[in-house]
Symmetry: C2
Subunit: 341 residues, 2 copies
Amino acid sequence: MTPGRVAVVGGGIIGLAIAAELLERGADVTVYDPAPEGTDGAWHVAAGMLAPGGESAFEYPHLTRLLEASSELWPSYAASLGDVGHDDAGTLSVALTADDVADAAREWNHQKLARLTGSRLRELEPAISPRVRAGAFAAAEHQVDPRKVVAALRARLAGRLVRRRVTNLSAVDSDVLVIAAGCATAALTGLPIRPVKGQVLRLRGEPGLLKHVIDGAADGRHVYLVPRADGEIVVGATQEERADDVATAGGVHDLLRAALDLVPGLAEHELIEVAVGQRPGTPDNGPLLGFLGPDRRTIVAAGHFRNGILLTPITARLIADLVLTGAADPLLDAFAPGRFG
Amino acid sequence: MTPGRVAVVGGGIIGLAIAAELLERGADVTVYDPAPEGTDGAWHVAAGMLAPGGESAFEYPHLTRLLEASSELWPSYAASLGDVGHDDAGTLSVALTADDVADAAREWNHQKLARLTGSRLRELEPAISPRVRAGAFAAAEHQVDPRKVVAALRARLAGRLVRRRVTNLSAVDSDVLVIAAGCATAALTGLPIRPVKGQVLRLRGEPGLLKHVIDGAADGRHVYLVPRADGEIVVGATQEERADDVATAGGVHDLLRAALDLVPGLAEHELIEVAVGQRPGTPDNGPLLGFLGPDRRTIVAAGHFRNGILLTPITARLIADLVLTGAADPLLDAFAPGRFG
């Protein structure tokens, strides 16, 4: 089957990955984005933690299966893109106080992770505060640098990125249309996607302070620290049910306080960036993946919420399958865009 | 006496104020600065608190007299410059914990300020945290916006600001030379001026959250909050014996934490700027004001440390006197540039 011309609306990480997959499989694909070289988009703020266990809702096994399937694709997917900062040193989950330990234990038990004492944690990661009580090691969690992934995908798609803000789907001249516009998908389709604000910091210091991703809680404040090879450390993220793009005193404070409580040696790191983004949330926080309506001309791939980076390879593969064959993988069954009625 | 041509080396707030005073008194003055429209300089970071009591060393009565003399000049000086954000609502000194109260009481007693209870503080300034134990009201402390002051002085000196980095004083063609180059004065003169780093934040929200300058201590962290009429609030400042211009995770955290401990309602304010500056410190942290050497051709006005904004009017007046008459006011006796031998 040949799909003819495919238009992808949205040049974020999901739209780019779908388009690159289609291009590689021989499709005639064009990506429309208001700023195809810009930095708007959840990918630009995202830390790039690939955590198939930690981020999933316990009660949502379909999402866990999708996350795990995508996680398995990441090592070869990253390798195919070149150096995109893929690192599989794993994640140390840490908890500062007894209350933090009690909260984290639920997650550790769910993931069947062995608990580590504070002293064992500091053997693995000497920069962790002596005040940290306990933790666990999640070997399956890895990371990529989303900014490098997007740069690599943009390079693949050279000549196929068109600067255009699509506001009317029927005005797009194509045989198949893929809507991968993140939060903007709501206005284009009427689907229930809401922005969930996140504030994220970037610090910089001598490389080597941290060897692992740190995912921790400190006095009830949740924070993750994602160290890059060049000494950058991403500190994220607030989660706020609002749509503005304002960095706030409270948000930045909470991130820095939790980060410094867990890793005091970060105090002398330079604060190089304060960024604000919007995650595309859905009513069940699972993505919307599949045909928009009965005409099978329009496909949606949006609403990835906190899991956009992790779900990029599986989304690209399964949506490309859908475009090229019309057949939906069973993994997509739970994520029909129309499931909220 | 006519001084002929006067060159001022340094276009920060001190150099500009001296030059503007000289111009007004009929002198032929030129200001040299590497970036006469730039934002390098302690004035750009400074909050503009005019606190003649609070900032002075108890043991240094000469400095206190100079600060008080300049403080008295500020209202009319500000009026002569137009709208430079002069505000005389006064400063509330506040202390969070019992330990903070004990520390602050020394300052309050020194300044003979009546102690206020927490509830009285919140009557005066409802945004202050219910956790704040005690405080005092310093009616004599006022504020200006240093960025507006510099803009007004630059406008006065239109045509007399020359973009030039002076590295050799003998290469400046003038009859009298005034060195007002802040930290750069050290390299030009050999005088003992060292950079003392300060990190300062700027927040923005609805105007009216705070009516007074807040100068407080929270769990041993000192912070001041300077509210502008437009809703900007300056949050300062770290004081670090180092010369770099790096905003650090620890510095920003400490300022935000103290600010939020004292005024929790700041949490939703936007963080609009993180700035780093260097105060020009001296061995006794008093300024260097007077002739550089016996030839009486070169005058120094530098090393104002934390008091540069407050000391601007008195410095401009007394240095202009020195340039135009050769006579030094007795207030300058304690601040001879050569006093460290």
